[in-house]
């Protein structure tokens, strides 16, 4: 693949990345660029390592080969303190929200502010209420995480992710398991936060429709490689059989419906061992 320098306006660039878990190769020499100020989506079927890619970008995992630079810094060559410094500028929204279950909503959003700043409680209160207002949940500040619906938990987690005014937010499957209303609300929120706060967003998702609506650029990944890439419109018109199957959600295609097995008729007629 290409060893070329990343484009000038890319905030995150992944170069010739390979990563394996045990004997299973998750990524095989892939290169991706994430432009500043844009929403870039990484799409692909479940189990292709999309979440792993976010963990690699955040420095929680180390690649076997290749490099990832975030704002000009090679993530995996940073010392621990420098990595933590960089992470303060990155927000991450986990699939489950990852709210701290022993604190209420207010304290969860205040958590990064209390850990990393020496602001007074009155200042923290103002900031927390502003962030909660941005996600529409200022009124829910007294609730505990177990009293929130899945969609609300993710919005609170989003408020927490923007608490330190990061330069970039990583979204891990933000739409999974959401009802249509909260899915729409989240998509709108991601788009508007990205534009109003001047963020860069990376969304990992397999929800084609919602993601296509808000993404500026899409990478489709499967079996450790980038299968296709382009703007959402270009992806809809793609001639690649793989992309078409993924975008339309067809049951069979390059990704087979059936798990590899021997011939069906032979299998039925054979007197194999009983299960």
């Amino acid at each position: 693949m290409d060893n070329s320098a990343p484009p000038l306006n890319s905030l995150v660039s992944v170069r010739n990345l390979s990563f394996s878990r045990g004997n299973k190769k998750i990524f095989d020499d892939i290169s991706l660029d994430f432009e500043r100020g844009k929403i870039t989506a990484i799409m692909g079927p479940s189990g292709t390592g999309k979440t792993t890619l976010l963990k690699l970008i955040g420095g929680q995992l180390c690649p076997g080969h290749g490099a990832i630079t975030v704002d000009g810094q090679n993530v995996h060559q940073l010392r621990r303190t420098e990595l933590y410094k960089l992470r303060k500028r990155i927000g991450m929204l986990f699939q489950s929200g990852a709210l701290l279950t022993d604190m209420n909503v207010y304290d969860n959003v205040a958590f990064p502010l209390r850990e990393h700043t020496h602001l007074s409680e009155s200042m923290i209160r103002t900031l927390v209420l502003m962030k909660l207002q941005a996600v529409g949940l200022r009124g829910a500040r007294e609730l505990m995480p177990n009293e929130l619906s899945g969609g609300m938990a993710r919005r609170i987690a989003l408020a927490r992710a923007i608490a330190l005014d990061p330069m970039m937010i990583l979204y891990d499957e933000p739409f999974t398991g959401q009802d249509p209303i909260s899915m729409g609300a989240l998509a709108h929120l991601i788009k508007s936060l990205n534009n109003t706060l001047g963020l860069t967003s990376i969304i990992v998702s397999h929800d084609v429709h919602e993601t296509s609506l808000i993404a500026d650029y899409i990478y489709v990944i499967s079996e450790g490689r980038v299968i296709d890439q382009g703007t959402p419109t270009a992806m809809q018109q793609s001639t690649s059989a793989w992309t078409t199957q993924f975008m339309t959600g067809a049951a069979d295609g390059p990704v087979h419906f059936h798990y590899p097995a021997k011939d069906y008729i032979d299998d039925l007629l054979s007197s194999g061992k009983r299960y």
Binding site: K55, Q60, R87, I90, F94, S96, T101, F111, P112
Partner: protein
Amino acid sequence: MINNLENLGKQTRSSFTKLGRGSFFLLQAVSGTLSVLPRPRLLLNQLYSVGVLSFLIITISGLFVGMVLGLQGYYTLSAFGAEESLGVMVATSLVRELGPVVSALLFAGRAGSALTAEIGLMKATEQLSGMEMMAVDPIKRIISPRLLAGLLAMPLLAGLFSAVGIIGGELVGSGLLGLDEGAYWSQMQAKLDFQDDIVNGMIKSIVFGFVTTWIALFEGYDAIPTSEGVSRATTRTVVNSAFSILGLDFILTALMFGEH
């Protein structure tokens, strides 16, 4: 045969790898305790959930163990006409052995399993990863305060266990069986040695508290982040803690009271 050998090798290797991971984890947790000192609130919260919430089980168990000791001791001692020594017998058994050991076993069941489940669930629900991504070290923020709390709470709970047990022995001895109250206390005062009995018992409970909390925290942190993984880790905490407490008790007793 070869397969069995291979499995044995694999298991041995994985046990040692786990021990290595556990030791490294402990090192990080211990070095993180310094960062807890400027934030006493973190420690106080944990002291409450590890210590105060174990209060009831320790008190009740201590009382009953003391009462049983009083009953059994009285019958045996009265056969030799030595029932005045009941106080010494109850106190020595409790302070040297039963206090530290039984309270540590109860602590492992009550607080240790809760710690493992809590940390394991935090891992399974990505709370630990989330903290890391917020540039907050979960070892310093979550693990170290709990380790310190376990270390402080255990000797206090063992002390409470012994104290309540001694009262339980007295209740049975003088209240139920008619032993002279003065003899119970004065014999105890005369025979119990501060260094030999109380300090050694305390050292034991500190060691048990440290090991039990370490096991509980590491099992949670190292758990497979699924509900099954967490439930297995919780079981392992109780089993491994019990083995460690009883094994270490033998070693410590041999070292402390060996020359007598």
